[in-house]
Structure formats: C-alpha cells, structure tokens
C-alpha cells in the first residue's frame, strides 16, 4: 500500500509546521501549502508556495490528488480588517472544500478552536460538541472563525461522500506555537482580571499534532472537542509558565492592554479571563483512543522555553 498523501494548508504557520513535521515523520506524503515561504521542510515532503484563494492552489490539488486535506490556513491577526479575515477564514475555507470535492479528496480535516463556544458566566462546565458556538455574542472579533466552524460542521450531512472532521482543541501551549493565548502569556508580566480566575484546559502542541494524526485516520468523521491533560485555574497557568501575575480591575486592563509590556488582546477575549469555557473531550477520546501524552505541568511549563 502506498503512503497516504495529505495537503496541509497554512503550513508555514506555527501549527502548520508542527503538523508537517509530525505527519511526515509518521509516513504521510506531505504537501505543504502556504503563500509564505516554506523552509526547512522534512524529507519526503513537498512545498507549494501558492495562495489558497488563487488559481495556483487548484492546480496543486488537481495534480497531487491527495487522500486528505488538513486545512490550517487562517488569518488570525486582529490587526487585519474584518473583511479580509472573512475572505480568507470563511470564503477561503468554502473554496478549499469545493476544490476538495472536485479533486476527489476523501477526507477534510478542519481544526477550529474551543473558543467558538464563547466564555460566558453561565456556561455549563465541560461543553459537549452539541453546545451552540455562541462566541460571536461576546467576542465579535472571531465571528469569521465561528462561521467557518459552523459551515464546515454543516458539510458533514451536506456532503457525506467526504469524511469531514472538525476539531475544537482547547488552549494549545508549547515552545513554538503562536496563538492568542500563548501571546497573552508571553510577556514577563501578565495581567489577570482581579476577582476572576476561571478554570482553563490546556493541550501541548505535540499532542495537538497527535490529534491531527488521529483525525486523519480513515473512517473518522464528526465534530470533536480535543482536551489535554486536565484543567487548572488561570492563575496557575500564568504563574507556572514563569510570568509574574498582575491582577488588575477590568477597567484598568482596558487601558493597559497592549501597553506597558502587557499583551494586546481584543476586548472580547477578556471574557476568557473571567468566565469558564471548558469542554468535554470524551467523544474524541472514545472515537480515536486519543490521550494527551504531555502532563499538565509539562504542558504549562513548556512555555518557559519561550522566556529567556
């Protein structure tokens, strides 16, 4: 049997690089796609420097005819205009899927985030996949990502001929990964909202790559939360990651975020520092046997490598 081939979009991003490396090591024929330059690709993988919203990408899919597509390309910067974000994150996703249909791709894996559920004071603990993703209400900056998540989830019944997997992993931490949460934790001094300390779940970046690998297994389809080694209050994550924690009242945070060495995070993200958004990862665990290999302490401390 020949090795399975996978196209990874957004392969130059921090999570994309992890995915390329992991899947190449596990014997996949990896085709890394990104509009940015792709460097230091592992042996046996192929780089395609194209924009997924341009024709060049159509050619790649037609030529490669991969077994699976891992669609990681996103515009996550909040400095980019909302219109641009929508164009790539929502319309781009729809376009990639349409092309997959045309190219006879058997599997479409779409990593989303647990943040689509939104952090609300009256969230039940451990949200199941059926819980409506309501983040748009309190975190309008990520409406495009919520829309894309729902769009792909709907493909499960609209296009049953293709195995669609939506992953909603919890906060990913690690020495290389670059997410809003890891950027929030990166400065030497990290603010928290005084009087709030919600429980957060974390997942090591290597375990996320492991989850991608599981998601690519033939036969698996559905929407899955992906959880890691457990849950701890936010202050533990901040302090254990090596930062100095500065609890500040919310009105003060509105002023200092992005200044005085604090991370600049959007207003909507502040709710994640106040209210819980924990998810139930049992469905993925039961469907794939996935178990995070990195413990809680190891996962949180992996951030220390970033601080020198």
């Amino acid at each position: 049997m020949s090795a399975r081939s996978v196209v990874i979009t957004g392969a130059a991003g921090s999570i994309g690089q992890l995915a390329v490396e992991r899947l190449a090591r596990r014997g996949f024929r990896v085709h890394a796609v990104d509009k940015r330059a792709l460097e230091r690709l592992p042996l046996g993988s192929e780089a395609h420097q194209v924009d997924i919203s341009k024709r060049g990408f159509d050619d790649v899919l037609r030529r490669v005819r991969p077994d699976a597509v891992l669609h990681l390309a996103r515009e996550r910067r909040f400095t980019v205009a909302a219109r641009e974000r929508y164009r790539l994150n929502f319309e781009g996703t729809a376009r990639v899927f349409e092309l997959c249909l045309g190219a006879g791709v058997k599997k479409f894996v779409f990593p989303s985030r647990h943040t689509v559920y939104g952090a609300l004071a009256d969230n039940p603990a451990f949200l199941r996949e059926e819980h409506p993703p309501t983040a748009g209400r309190t975190f309008p900056e990520i409406q495009d990502l919520v829309a894309a998540d729902l769009y792909v989830s709907a493909l499960l019944w609209r296009n049953p001929e293709i195995e669609v997997v939506v992953l909603r992993p919890v906060n990913v931490l690690g020495p290389t990964v670059n997410t809003l949460f890891s950027r929030y934790l990166s400065p030497r001094r990290v603010f928290t909202v005084a009087g709030y300390d919600p429980v957060h779940q974390v997942l090591h970046e290597d375990d996320l790559a492991g989850a991608f690998e599981r998601a690519l297994a033939p036969g698996l389809r559905g929407v899955f939360n992906v959880t890691g080694p457990g849950e701890v209050p936010l202050h533990v994550i901040v302090e254990e990651s090596g930062a100095e924690r500065i609890p500040l009242p919310e009105p003060v945070i509105r002023i200092v975020r992005g200044r005085l060495g604090f991370a600049g995070i959007p207003q909507g993200a502040l709710d994640f520092l106040k209210y819980p958004c924990t998810v139930d990862g049992n469905r993925f665990r039961e469907a794939t046997g996935f178990v995070a290999e990195h413990g809680l302490r190891e996962t949180i401390r992996s951030l220390r490598g970033r601080r020198t």
Binding site: A121, D122, P124, A125, F126, T192, V193, A194, G195, Y196, D197, P198, V199, P229, G230, E231, V232, P233, H235, V236, E239, E240, R245, P247, Y275, P276, N282, R285, E286, V291, A292, E293, H294, G295, L296, R297, E298, R301, S302
Partner: protein, 358 residues
C-alpha cells in the same frame, strides 16, 4: 465513575500544616493511600480523578518532582501579598475539619484542584471558620442524617436565610456530622458567577452554578451528593410573614432525579428564617443594584443572628420515569417532595423549644 478513572491518579493530600511546616506538600500517591471515608465508594470526592501522565520526558521535570509543590503557592485568585495570610489561615485549620475533608479523599491534580476548580485546601480554610459557626454559633443539631444514602443523591429542602447560610450549614453538616463525610455540591444561583471574588470563592469550595448539565455530570460521573433549593431566590429572599412557607418548588430537580435515577433526600431546615429575617425584598433598590432581591434586615447588612439550627432529614424518595414527561406527570411528584419537606418543617418546628435555645 468518571471515564478518566482508569488513568494514573495523583492526589495531593492537603495535610495539616503542622505536619509539613510549610515546606512542601504532604503527599501520598498510590492505591494504598486511600482514606477510610472513600472506601465505601460513597464519598463524592472519590471519583474526582485527574489524569497526570508522562512527566519523565522533559529532563527539567526530573529536577522538580511533581509532588514537590509548596503548599500555599497555588490557591486563590489573590495577589501574592495575600498568600502570607493563606499561610496563616492554613495554621488555623482545625484538626477536625482537616481530618473530615481529608476523609473525602479529594482527587485533585498536581496543583491541588479538581476538574471543577475546587480546592480542598481552600475549602479547609473556609470550613474551619464555618465549623465554628456550625458548632458554637448556630449550635446545629442534625436529625436522621444517616438517611442520606451512599452514592448519588439529591438533597432537596426549604430555602431561607437571605444569603444561603442554610446551604453553607448543610454542606458543613454533611462534612462534620455524616458518616462517612460527604461533600455536598450546592447548585447555586447563576447570579453568583458574575461578581468578582465571590465567583472564585464559590468555585474553590466546590459550589457550582445551578445548570442541569453540571448537576447531571456530578451525579452520573462522580456519584455526587448534590444540594438543590428548588425554590431558588423565591425561598432565599422570602420575607418574615412567609416564614417556613414553601414558595413553590420548580420542576428541574425532579426531572433531573428521574433522568439520572437519583434518590431525593428531603430535608427541613429550621432556624434559617429567624437567623436572618427580612421585612422587605426592596425590589426597586434590588433592580437598581442588579440583585435578585435586597433584604431589609434588623442587622442592616444581612448578617445572621445566632438562631439555633435543626436540620431534619427524611427518608429518600425514589421516583420512576424518564424525566421528559409532561408537566401533569411531573407536578404531582414535585408536590409529593414538597409535602415531605413541609412535614419535616412542621415536625421540626413542633419539636424545637425556642428560637435561640433548645
């Protein structure tokens, strides 16, 4: 049982501060270390299991063993200077509270928290004070606490006392007077999840906001003891002329009991109305402050008077059903529980000799 229970456990014993003199955690790890209270399988904390795995991979981890955690390093959402107070409070944890909460065999992760964010260490600090209130201030007497069955159960009773002092004392009763001790998880008002500090304090003591999903998970995955006041704020904020009147039970608890096949233990709480009488809910003011009600009490702030408290537990009630029946099927069952609670209240009122003594 939690689906995670098959995985490695790591339990930090939040031992008495005297024993470990603030250096490192008193730790035990392994099957031989189970506390006697958990042996019956009835301890609600027994199933709170957190997986911790594979720590050997990172050489840095070896230098700092997982269990080598400073006891007071991680506890509440407070700035560092307050941690010194926590160390002081840790020394004030009384031996009874310490032993009884230990006996719950709380299964926590390497940072001392369970998956809901509860901290046995913080619970001990708070309950050392609650124990004083329980024994010396309210002089609580429990009647029939052995009727609370092992395994999952719903504690259902009358609400009073304006600020959930009744919930606090019932939780204390289950820890201090039940054999083996049980950790009662109260389903609290959603309102408490919003104000700063209060929400953290509630979470650390294992109290969760009253959402059916939370209760169901506690009952089904952890065989927990869940405390519900089905009157909600109608009962908690009731005024003096309505004392010991049941303000109407909601249906949610009964549907939950049917769905999860959980026995309902009714209780009557006597003394709550007198400890914090309210003469008005002052609703216009409450609306202004964004509160469900604003009690007008003799003590101005809703602080409790030292009324003597009796808690009467009834025989468990078991109902058959699925939980999704029509209202006309559910309502008579709810009335049955109401009647049981009312009977316990009436018996309790008849038996007590005085409001403050006897």
């Amino acid at each position: 049982m939690s689906p995670r229970s098959g995985l490695t456990r790591s339990r930090i014993r939040c031992g008495p501060p005297r024993a470990c003199a603030g250096k490192t955690a008193c730790v035990d790890d392994g099957p031989g270390a189970r506390r006697p209270g958990s042996a019956a399988g009835g301890g609600s904390g027994a199933a709170l299991v957190h997986p911790t795995r594979k720590r050997e991979a990172d050489p840095e981890q070896r230098e700092a063993p997982v269990h080598d955690i400073p006891r007071v390093a991680y506890d509440a959402a407070v700035p560092r200077p307050f941690r010194a107070w926590e160390a002081v409070l840790d020394r004030l944890v009384d031996p009874e509270t310490d032993a009884r909460i230990e006996a719950l065999a709380p299964s926590v992760n390497e940072y001392g928290y369970d998956r809901w964010g509860a901290s046995p260490a913080a619970t001990k600090r708070a309950f050392s004070f609650v124990r004083w209130l329980y024994r010396n201030y309210f002089r609580v007497e429990v009647h029939g606490i052995d009727r609370v069955p092992p395994g999952r159960a719903l504690l259902i009773g009358n609400h009073s006392a304006q600020l959930a002092y009744d919930g606090m004392l019932i939780a204390a009763a289950m820890i201090l007077d039940a054999e083996p001790p049980r950790f009662a998880r109260a389903m609290i008002e959603r309102f408490f999840a919003v104000p700063p500090f209060v929400n953290v304090a509630m979470a650390r003591m294992g109290q969760l906001i009253g959402i059916p999903e939370n209760a169901e998970r506690l009952l089904m995955e952890e065989e927990a003891l869940v405390l519900v006041f089905p009157e909600g704020e109608r009962g908690g904020g009731k005024v003096w002329r309505d004392r010991y009147k049941i303000m109407g039970f909601g249906q949610g608890f009964l549907r939950l009991a049917l769905k999860t096949q959980t026995p309902i233990v009714p209780f009557g709480f006597i003394g709550g109305e007198e400890m914090c009488p309210s003469f008005s809910r002052m609703e216009p003011l409450a609306r202004l402050l964004g509160l469900p009600y604003a009690p007008l009490t003799p003590t101005v702030l809703p602080l409790p008077l030292p009324a003597k408290v009796h808690i009467w537990f009834g025989e468990p009630l078991r109902f058959e059903g699925q939980g999704d029946e029509d209202d006309h099927v559910i309502t008579p069952k709810v009335r049955q529980v109401e009647t049981a609670v009312k009977a316990l209240i009436d018996a309790g009122l008849a038996a007590r000799k005085g409001v403050f003594f006897g």
